[in-house]
Symmetry: C2
Subunit: 604 residues, 2 copies
């Protein structure tokens, strides 16, 4: 099994053995799937990625998408991957049969697209956003809208986007000013500008279906006055031919990385002829968009985790092939007549590799955990189950968006460093991964926004019920690890960290209760980092518990070394990463106020 | 005073008030310099940078240096900056009068070149390396070599390089195989390949003088058999005309950043006609090269500190101009009818800005501290003073190379994040700084190598005398801060961290004493980070002590806010950065061994 850009063994191990996908297959929704068919799907996506994605990784970086004559020129693989993603059922995988989908578990789907991300992160965004846009129409749109737009989107023939950001508003959606004026013909006239629209237009695309946030004339100010519209680039004339819908590609954004995935600036209604169709109810646009946003945030985390995986595999291969330097002998000297060591033998290089491995595989487990929660939520039969997994999912979403993005970038940074000077050179892909992954902490809500979401919304929701449920999940693993002599000490440490998180919250909560939200949230980023490390430590301990069990079995699926390496990596994470919680806690509970603006400006 | 890319006030404050350059001016060597003349020099370099460097920053990134027809095409500013650096005395500034220099204090010179680095980091490398190469010839070369090469180098007419790395050896200099064969004509025939040679060749350069490490036939193996040679691209024929010396530019390296500063692959003696002249004694090449290497390492730290400064200034300007979002009111909500806030008002943005400010200005202080040590060392009159500052300098060099490179990259990362999605876009310089600074942790010995140097060589040297001296310097500041009620608590914390460093060393030293150097050095990187944070905390406390004094004076040089902002930034560093020492100490004293290779390979 080639591991050039992805470790398929570990992917399947985490999907099947750790997150136990098989247990879900008995649920009604997934009746027509079994392990064999899912494996087949995943393997076919791997073949597809080997063939159609990975070979174009460097090419797409060297030849960025660019704006020309009102459209965007992209690499020819874009169309190919869109179409084949349609044909292979990648876009439609998780939708209901009645909507043209395959009712595949989201976990299996995410595992498959993760492979595509790892192979070439410039491409999966196109089908991925199309899927998200289709999801919105399916979930909230009328039957007419569904019939008109969804089939071509699922087939990969039409692209889809989500249009939120405007030049003057940035992440502040309450300041959206794109206007929707009602007409008597069932549509609204749309006028406005949207920026940072991924996959917003590309040459040769028959049509692009934009899901646009806009304000109906007279709507309330703020986020409560935002509605959601389907605004196709080309509208259907008498349901047959396509006619230009006054959606102009004004410009594109040239970026530091992910250059093959175009980012556009769109103008709606410049000639007063742009039509949009309301999706669902008036003024409910933001809530609707956020349903899709959850998926988009998991997708960003998945993409970042996958880029970090590819970078790890690349630097590991280099470390296993490159001879340089020698080990120190007992007199503290090196013997120049000795053969050179491979760089993987040097402890510092091993530290950088293990750091990557722990972040990369831990992030993958996190992504598939979130997907599992989605699967359970989708198929929940009781109100209790629904509520539980709804809350667990809400808790984990800001983390699954953020940790792979932030720690993933650090991971790639270490991968680059493993290559020394070559890591900085264009001939090697590490520097590309370094640039590509950096967008993840910005996409779909920056790390700052995710952190405010975690501490400001998710922790307090339902009186802390979400955090309680998450903690209970973590405690299950702690109990399991406690039954193993080797793992007991790690279980103890994780328990302590969980307790410390409560202490931190007890320190912060009074500020919120006194109405000082600014103070409560000032260090939300640090709290995010704290909780992320706790969650990752949990996922690693969970893997170690499973690996220990497997090692005691004679009919293990993978090699002895495979399982031992998971336990080893857990130990690495607990030695080098988990201690960071201490300094984070110290900063979080330090009462010095230095980041809140008062009369004088000291940041000069 | 425009602060577009550099804060000249802070630069002068740290140079004059913190590191007290004036006190050095009474020394014999600097007699002809006074504050006025040095200020004039620094201001003229700022004007020069405004005019000839900063305007070309983005252009040089967009049009990288490239190899064509056996030479390297560079931006036309390269020649201009080389020549003017010669004319302005930038290259010759610190050399003796008798060698054509100006005997300027190194601190003043470093402050000036820091401005150039901040303006456009693609350019100062050319004159800077030329200076380093000239320094080697002046220090160790014969009068003949000096007369032949130095004047044109100091004038910026000829470039200079240092050639260490070879394809098969990387950082492992004991594996250098470039060969020097003696002849009867006073020169050696040189054959071999050198890679990663910065400024190694560029079109239009009349000549490039390479300082090359090579092995004389029959020399001992390892680093003890390496000698140093002057190998000009064009040799002097009868001391008058230039004749090609068989130094071929084989290729260049295209890089992720610093694209205007060419990196070349050179072939020596392909036609068996490459002549080199021995510098100093046989087999002493490495020790000689390391004299220059110290300067080069400070220069890398200086460059990184300067790039981070430019990125900070840019993101600060953006934060002061960009409106987005609103403050939370006492009910935890935002009022959409309120005017938008500037993003600098959001605590999380303030945290990112203060993080930058603390790293950037602290790094600048560190660079100028190292330069001060160099100045004192150069002018020391007693053996004691010489030894003291030699040891202090040796201690600080790996740190001044590493901290600005590593923390500086993190600083720029935060600057990019301040701009949100725009930070990732090519129209803004943040993404360029992000790419440019990344080479700093690789240049002139990676962070791994610096860390081994710090823990493996510098800490144990002279039985720990260097660390003792450095600690004594830190204690002086702790005592001064202890006399101020406001600063007392910070003094206490820093004292504790200094003590903890001793505990860490007591934990590690036994491994070295038992001959287990691999274990002793395995976490050298973490120790580097620990010591760096201690040193930076010291430098910030030192600044706070001075600022407090100035605030008590009525005839302050700078505004009240200026001094208060320094104290504020110190508090930030102590709240958010210094606590990291705790987790580092925890990892360093954890006895679990996970990064040392044993029989089984778990990194898979």
């Amino acid at each position: 099994m080639s591991k050039k850009y992805v470790d398929l063994e570990t992917l399947k191990y985490i999907l099947y053995d750790i997150h136990k996908l098989e247990e879900l297959l008995s649920r009604d929704r997934f009746q027509e799937h079994d392990m064999e068919s899912l494996n087949l799907f995943i393997d076919s996506v791997k073949d597809f990625s080997d063939r159609e994605l990975y070979p174009y990784l460097q090419e797409m970086d060297a030849n960025p998408a660019y704006h020309k004559d009102g459209t965007v020129i992209v690499h020819e693989q874009v169309q190919k991957v869109m179409h084949q993603s349609g044909e292979m059922g990648i876009i439609s995988a998780c939708f209901d049969y009645e909507d043209g989908g395959l009712q595949m578990p989201i976990s299996a789907f995410q595992a498959a697209v993760y492979i595509m991300d790892a192979a070439n992160n410039h491409l999966p965004g196109y089908p991925s956003l199309t899927l998200g846009a289709a999801e919105l129409i399916i979930e909230f749109g009328s039957q007419v809208l569904k019939d008109k737009y969804v089939p071509n989107m699922l087939a990969g023939v039409w692209g889809g986007t989500m249009c939120l950001t405007e030049p003057q508003a940035g992440s502040s959606l309450s300041d959206v000013v794109t206007k929707a004026t009602p007409t008597n013909d069932g549509y609204y006239k749309i006028t406005g500008q949207k920026i940072f629209i991924s996959g917003g237009d590309y040459k040769g695309a028959e049509n692009i279906i934009h899901l646009v946030l806009a304000r109906i004339e007279g709507a309330p100010k703020g986020t409560k006055g935002i509605s959601l519209f389907v605004v196709p680039k080309n509208r259907l004339k008498e349901d047959v031919t396509l006619e230009y819908n006054d959606v102009m590609t004004v410009a594109d954004f040239q970026k530091m990385g992910q250059k093959g995935y175009c980012t556009t600036h769109l103008g709606f209604g410049d000639s007063d002829d742009c039509r949009g169709w309301l999706v669902g109810e008036e003024h409910k646009g933001l809530a609707q968009m956020f349903l899709m946003m959850n998926g988009a945030r998991i997708a960003v985390g998945r993409g970042a985790a996958a880029i970090a995986m590819a970078a790890y595999r690349t630097s590991l291969q280099y470390a296993n092939e490159r001879p340089q330097g020698r080990k120190l002998s007992a007199d503290g000297k090196k013997n120049p007549t000795e053969k050179q060591s491979l760089i993987i033998e040097h402890p510092d290089v091993r530290r950088m590799l293990l750091l990557q491995k722990s972040i990369v595989e831990g992030s993958l487990s996190l992504v598939l955990l979130a997907s599992k929660y989605q699967d359970i939520l989708t198929t929940a039969t009781s109100k209790e189950e629904k509520e539980k997994y709804h809350l667990l999912l809400e808790m984990i979403i800001p983390i699954v968006k953020t940790y792979p993005s932030e720690a993933g970038a650090e991971s790639v940074d270490n991968g680059l460093q493993v290559l020394g000077g070559y890591g900085f050179c264009a001939d090697f892909t590490l520097q590309q991964y370094y640039r590509d992954i950096r967008i993840s902490a910005l996409y779909e809500g920056t790390t700052g926004i995710q952190s405010q979401d975690l501490l400001g919304r998710k922790v307090p929701m339902h009186n802390g019920k979400g955090l309680e449920l998450l903690s209970a999940e973590i405690v299950k693993t702690i109990i399991a690890a406690n039954n193993d002599e080797e793992l007991k000490p790690y279980a103890k440490i994780l328990g302590d960290k969980l307790e410390l998180s409560q202490k931190i919250l007890s320190h912060l909560m009074p500020f919120a209760l006194k109405g000082n939200y600014e103070r409560y949230l000032a260090d939300a980023n640090l709290f995010m980092e704290y909780m992320s490390i706790v969650v990752l430590s949990w996922l690693w301990l969970e893997m170690a518990v499973d690996a220990k069990k497997a090692l005691g079995n004679s009919d293990r699926k993978f090699s002895k070394t495979f399982y031992e390496s998971k336990i080893h990596t857990m130990k690495f994470y607990f030695k080098y990463e988990l201690p960071k919680t201490n300094s984070l806690a110290e900063s979080l509970m330090n009462n010095e106020v230095v980041t809140i603006k008062n009369e004088k400006e000291y940041i000069i």
